[in-house]
Amino acid sequence: MYLFIASEIMLFGSFFTAYFFVRIVNGVAWPTPPYHLPVFVATINTFILMTSSATMHWSTVSIKRGNVWGMRAGLLLTFLMGLAFLTSQLYEYMRAGFNTSNGAFPTIFFCLTGLHGCHVFVGLSILAFMTIRAFRGHFSAENHHGVEIGGIYWHFVDVMWIVVFTTVYIL
């Protein structure tokens, strides 16, 4: 787990280094005029992702108490909210009005949010398998390691989004 955390810190760290270099060392305005960041959509997305973490936690707590249907509902809701996040992020990309050929700002923006989007995609894949297994009756109060591990990854993805959202969209 420590190696995983270290590798993720280095991966995101390299992208954040590029971001801070462009924004602070080069002194480029963020976002570069005349572009605008879709802050409202990103804020809604943040609430969706935070809620999905709550449903993920509800799912884990439910199965620990032997509430199988609570776990299934929690996993399904988490998956749907993750899917909503990813879909709206792709929609946001299409309507952004800039692409990677427009300079350093759009490149860093797409790299940072895209890297996080890849993590969400991996998390969604894990959630899909977890949900299918849950509906097939694979988890119980005594045996729910798969839900626990998937939940840890999902919360990690949400933590990274808070960092990305704060630095790229708000500050």
Binding site: M1, Y2, T60, G151, V159, I162
Partner: protein, 184 residues
Amino acid sequence: MRNPLRSEGEAYRFLWVVVLGAAIIIAASFINTWLGVAAAVIGFAWLGRWLLQEPVPGAADPPAVVTSGTPPGTHRVLVVAPPGTQSLKVPDGAEVLVVVPALAAAHESLTGAVDDRRHDAEATADALAERLNGARVEVGADDPALAVEDALRVFGADEVLVAGDADGMFEAIRERVAIPVSRA
């Protein structure tokens, strides 16, 4: 050191700690940019201190030594033989369990690349099983002290014999168990 991703519950709590920290930094930066920088520096320093704290008081204490015993009238010996051991002399008339720990380098243990070391240990265990008629020979964990501890859970022994001349392994086992440990 605290691992914020050790369990789902801890990861969930860590998420809200990060949300709270981000909210404070955002609020401070809206008041003044340098106030935001100061909030970030204090926040990261606090996070570092929190991560370095012991999550459960006493968790870093050394583990208790393992005691062991055998039924009356029996004499059991646990023998630790590192991979590559060619021959062993075991006490006559005793029930013997030989454990071959799959010794691995630190980087191999850390990355989980212990398959080759386990194959080496299995080869040694097979060879010793042929030579020691009647003795059980098993492959143990990559940490010799842990291999002994595991073995004593299922095979109560009166003494532990350590083959080979690795001082580190001998001392590590002697510190870990409360029964006599000597060299084979």
